[in-house]
């Protein structure tokens, strides 16, 4: 690993942080993301209560858990993760490129437009189905020959109603333009974070178009299923993963005050993801009518991605080597490395899931739901909490009101998701065996009950951690600025 003349690509006069980063917008994005996370958690809890027959509002159509389940997943993906990542991008990209985003006005416009997209998605999911059946709507639809559905679109993770899709698609294009301008103007070889972000702008745009338009208008039936499979997994692998890894490559070296172990290896990880990931999606549809050669292709591509992931994990272990104590002392670092352990566990699960033998057991069981929470909350949300824990004091200009509440946030979230993931993983194995032994369906539901009750309590712990964080944030904002602010927690 050669150490080069470090300042080759850094101009002698560099711009001021204040001229590069719009801190207010970063804070707005983070706050919006927290509002959606809170909503999503309440929705998840609602669904979890329904599954143990404790539905708190059984008679309210608008509060039916089936609709709120979709709000749960959509609010988390597009409301929480997307908003938080956008905030993070507004901090990292200008600092990495030493150039501001293309247009500050565009940034504000995108912020508003994105909240509109997420809120309309929720409205479409919640009131769309009721509205759809209203006589005056049916009359209008018949009169003008409109066959468009007002409610959720029938595509997993693409439930955003069809009439919002074009707006979201344009929004994604604008996001790409806003950030690609500074990236394309940056000089010299790029740092790995920028590679990930750059690819993500292209991928997300294409993936969204593929998932929401192709299966809706052009390819139906099994073909639609195949495309839907690609879409779901590409959202995780080509939208969330590059953002997550790019973010870690940016923040971990800063917090450790030490460069990443091997930049070369990090690029191997990036190009590996680029070439192997896009074929993975079909692994969601093992044992379906999709041709076996496509399923085998997905299995092999997934194994290849496992190797790629290993290079990334080795790189981060190499970076922290000899400085293990700082992971315990610095809370943001602790969030990051805990997320990495969960990432490793998720990939370990993937290695099992992708074998046909194992799929036979866990297909359609709660194992998958456990896996989803482990990766979405255990990995990406934990990383984002780390970033927020680190950045909020800088954005507000004062230290955290209560470091203890920060600790509570960490421990409740980590313990909650650990219990939830373990609990649902186990539930999945039990369910698989109930079904394989051809027991009555009810037997498997009764057998799942203890696991589903445990999930409610795990969810309450996660929600408790979140409340600690929000309370701490409000109090930090309301207290007077402290001297020597912004020390890391």
């Amino acid at each position: 690993m050669s150490s080069s003349a470090p300042s080759a690509a850094i101009p002698a006069e560099i711009p001021r942080h204040e001229d590069l980063v719009n801190e207010r917008l970063v804070a707005w994005y983070f706050i919006a993301s927290l509002v959606f996370l809170g909503t999503s958690m309440l929705a998840g809890l609602h669904m979890a209560l329904q599954l143990v027959h404790w539905n708190p509002c059984p008679d309210a159509e608008l509060l039916s858990p089936g609709r709120w389940r979709m709000v749960h997943t959509n609010a988390v993906a597009y409301g929480f993760l997307a908003n938080a990542f956008l905030g993070m991008l507004h901090w990292t990209v200008p600092r990495l490129t030493l150039r501001p985003v293309a247009s500050s006005a565009l940034s504000y416009f995108i912020f508003g437009a994105w909240q509109f997209v997420v809120l309309s998605t929720a409205a479409g999911i919640l009131i769309g189905p009721s509205l759809q059946d209203a006589p005056w709507v049916m009359e209008l639809a018949a009169k003008y020959n409109i066959s468009m559905s007002l409610g959720a679109q029938g595509i997993e993770w693409g439930e955003t109603p069809v009439w919002i899709d074009p707006i979201a698609q344009v929004g994604l294009l604008l996001v790409a333009i806003n950030f690609m301008v500074p990236i394309s103007r940056a000089r010299g070889p790029m740092y790995v974070t920028l590679w990930y972000f750059m690819a993500m702008f292209v991928w997300t745009f294409l993936v969204y178009a593929m998932g929401n338009f192709m299966s809706e208008y052009w390819v139906g039936g099994t073909s639609g299923g195949a495309v839907g499979g690609l879409f779901i997994h590409d959202l995780v692998g080509l939208f969330v993963t590059p953002l997550g890894w790019g973010m870690m490559y940016y923040f971990v070296p800063i917090l450790l005050q030490k460069p990443i172990w091997s930049h070369g290896l990090s690029l191997v990880g990036f190009w590996g993801l680029a070439f192997f990931y896009p074929l993975n999606g079909i692994h969601h549809f093992l044992y379906t009518p999709i041709p076996m050669f496509l399923q085998y292709g997905a299995v092999i591509a997934t194994i290849a991605v496992e190797f790629v992931v290993t290079t990334v994990i080795i790189n981060f272990i190499g970076t922290v080597w000899g400085q293990g104590k700082s992971v315990y002392r610095s809370l943001p670092l602790r969030w990051f490395y805990t997320g990495m352990i969960f990432y490793f566990l998720t990939c370990l699960q993937c290695a099992l899931q992708v074998t046909l033998t194992f799929q036979k057991l866990i297909h359609f069981t709660d194992w998958v739901v456990g896996h989803a929470h482990l990766v979405m909350f255990g990995v990406f949300s934990l990383w984002l909490f780390g970033v927020m824990t680190y950045l909020f004091p800088r954005l507000i200009g004062r230290d955290w009101w209560s470091p203890q509440l920060c600790e509570w946030h960490y421990w409740l979230s980590t313990a909650g998701v650990l219990v939830m993931a373990f609990d649902l993983t186990l539930a999945g194995i039990f369910q698989g065996y109930y079904w394989a032994s051809l027991q009555m369906w009810d037997v498997s539901v009764d057998g799942s009950m203890p696991f589903w009750i445990t999930r409610v309590f795990a969810g309450l712990a996660m929600l408790g951690g979140f409340v600690c964080f929000v309370w701490n944030l409000v109090m930090t904002y309301r207290t007077a600025p402290a001297k020597g602010a912004v020390a890391a927690v």
Binding site: V227, G264, L267, F275, P291
Partner: protein
């Protein structure tokens, strides 16, 4: 190294192209067959784009001094924080 890459890549690419061609021939004219080709075509298009980007990066010196950017990253951060009001 280059020789090894060629020894591995050339036969695999030829083999894949051959199999893919056979596959397309098999499904030609069959409306249902299109669905099997769609994901592969998607992948090939995306993969081709990235292959072009990879060559562009290599030709523009992005992989020269491969460890350089990690030092610049930290240095830049320090300078930005130093100048922060």
């Amino acid at each position: 190294m280059l020789l090894l890459a060629l020894v591995i890549l050339v036969p695999s690419c030829l083999g894949f192209a051959n199999k893919f061609f056979e596959f397309v021939m098999l499904f030609r004219g069959d409306a249902d067959g299109a669905f099997a080709i769609t994901p592969i075509l998607n992948y090939l298009l995306a993969g081709f784009g990235f292959l072009l980007m990879f060559f562009w990066a290599a030709m523009n010196g992005m992989f020269h001094d491969i460890e350089g950017p990690k030092h610049q990253h930290l240095e830049r951060e320090k300078m930005l924080d130093r100048g922060r009001g």
